[in-house]
């Protein structure tokens, strides 16, 4: 990477500076390089390009022909990395790497948007499963007659609970909880010695471990 500021206008450095990619020594070197008028003009043009790319409505203004001419002229004078035919000045800036290509916040915005989409779909799917009375993964039970505590069935409806229940308490739905699974495993270990023999103790617990995970 070039760190010296001898070049009258190191555009790569200015572009990196505009994108906030420089730090420490590179940053101060680039700042020193900004002393020349050419560099400052370059800086302003890059900021302008960035603004236009970030806000498409700015690009729609066709009345400032002088500006567009100047911009296209300057863009043409830039060294093109690939020998692509650039008939239209507007296409020219599309063909080269965007000034904000490396900007992390744009990737973050895209990431957040896709996450939001997945979350929204997931939420509606969960919401759809929830109220059904006999979901295979999620299920519900009503609270027992005596207490006000909620009864939540982890795997599916439990007839015993539902039968002994009055339908006065709110229903609730709960997903698998890895912390609870750990406690269940610790409990199973404690309960692995049963007076009913290993069929209801050790064998049952060693076999049944799967569904709890």
């Amino acid at each position: 990477m070039k760190t010296h500021s001898d070049t009258p206008c190191d555009r790569e450095q200015i572009s990196a500076l505009a994108d906030g990619h420089l730090q420490g020594r590179e940053f101060s070197a680039a700042l020193q390089g900004m002393a020349s008028d050419e560099a400052r003009e370059c800086w302003h043009v890059y900021q302008l390009i960035g603004d236009v790319l970030r806000s498409p409505e700015l690009a729609a203004c066709g009345r400032d022909a002088a500006f567009v001419d100047r911009l296209s002229q300057r863009l043409r004078s830039e060294a093109t990395p690939a020998p692509l035919p650039l008939p239209q000045p507007v296409r020219a800036d599309v063909a080269r790497p965007a000034a904000n290509d490396g900007v992390f916040r744009w990737k973050m915005v895209a990431g957040l948007a896709s996450f939001a989409a997945v979350a929204a779909v997931g939420w509606s799917v969960l919401g759809g499963i929830g109220p059904q009375p006999a979901g295979p993964q999620l299920a519900q039970g009503a609270a027992p007659a005596g207490g006000g505590a909620q009864v939540i069935s982890l795997a599916a409806p439990v007839p015993a609970v539902a039968a002994s229940a009055q339908h006065e308490a709110p229903l609730s739905v709960m997903l698998r909880d890895p912390r609870l699974d750990e406690l269940l495993a610790a409990h199973r270990q404690a309960a692995s010695v049963s007076a009913l023999g290993s069929a209801s103790g050790f064998l049952r617990n060693a076999t049944f471990e799967g569904p709890a995970r």
């Binding site: 295979p136 299920a139 039970g141 609270a143 027992p144 005596g146 207490g147 505590a149 909620q150 009864v151 939540i152 069935s153 982890l154 795997a155 599916a156 409806p157 439990v158 007839p159 015993a160 609970v161 039968a163 002994s164 609730s172 709960m174 912390r179 609870l180 406690l183 269940l184 610790a186 409990h187 270990q189 404690a190 309960a191 692995s192 010695v193 049963s194 007076a195 009913l196 023999g197 290993s198 069929a199 209801s200 050790f202 064998l203 049952r204 060693a206 076999t207 049944f208 471990e209 799967g210 569904p211 709890a212 995970r213």
Partner: protein
Amino acid sequence: MIGTARRWTATPRAGGAGARCLGGWRGVLRRAAVLWCASGVLGLAGAQGVGAFGGGSAPDRMAGPPERSVAEWLVRLQQASRIPSYVGTFVVSSSSGAMSSARIWHVCEGNLQLERVEALSGAPRSTYRRNELVVTFMPEARIVRTERRVAGGMFPNLLNPGGNFSTADHYSAREMGRDRVAGFDADVVLLSPRDDLRFGYRIWSEKRTGLVVKTQTLDAAGRVLEQAAFSELQLDAPVRAAKPQLAMPSTDGYRVEKPERVRTSAADEGWTLKAPVAGFQPQNCYRRPVSPSASMVQWIFSDGLATVSLFMEPFDAQRHGHEGVSAMGATHTLTRRLTDPAGAWWITAVGEVPPRTLRAFVDGLERKN
């Protein structure tokens, strides 16, 4: 039958008379059947009455094996773990529809018991038991977990029916006849609870050896919450054929995990149960770290058949939030926040018991300062 029905519809007027006539016949038949059944039931009740009042050894009982008491049954089921060897496929299913199965190898030579449980469903797991040492291989995670199971203080009492053995006070045994499981004849016994703090159990015990070949956990209404059974069983598998399967593989390439728990006592940890829950006796108490700064206490209770674990840890709003009761098969879980002047605690009670039992435990739990 279908023919006559068709004829009635074809001639409705005659059909009316025919139906009335048949109704009369049906009534007679039904009355006869009711009388016959009633006499059968009375006869059965009589036989059972003789069995019960005669103490099970009355010579005047005509048929069936002698009735065993709860304690006698439990001793018989326990002794079955000493049979030389068996190999089988074991299936566990819960009322929620969850089902898992495993291949079982068992060998007993003198005082050495070897067992292997190879999970056939869910994540691959192989569990090896050598007496009290239990080693579980999880090949996908490349983890081996070793733990030492601790028999509660129950068995000396259990094997001495004259002693202070409270399980018999909280369950009653009733023999339900015989059945066939995995190709073997089995005695069926119903252990029903005497109160509503525990579930009932229906046990299929192989006739010759006593081995439990099937169990069902029943709620108060008699519904099956969970059942476990051998779907296939070789009871007389030669020991030398089964034994190679029981050799524990090398743990090379696996990360060996040991539970970081230390034995402690509830009193030392500052916990007490102000009102004991009928039939449940405290067993062991352990402390294990859950984070660098906090640890959790597990206090274990048992009535001989059902086990309850109370987990106590400092309340952490980040991790704990949902108070309530959940159920999975026969296993119920109750979570509750407990506050005392010194701070807040998060209590999780787990057990193969009805929710009311867990509630009784958590209601009775208090800090001793």
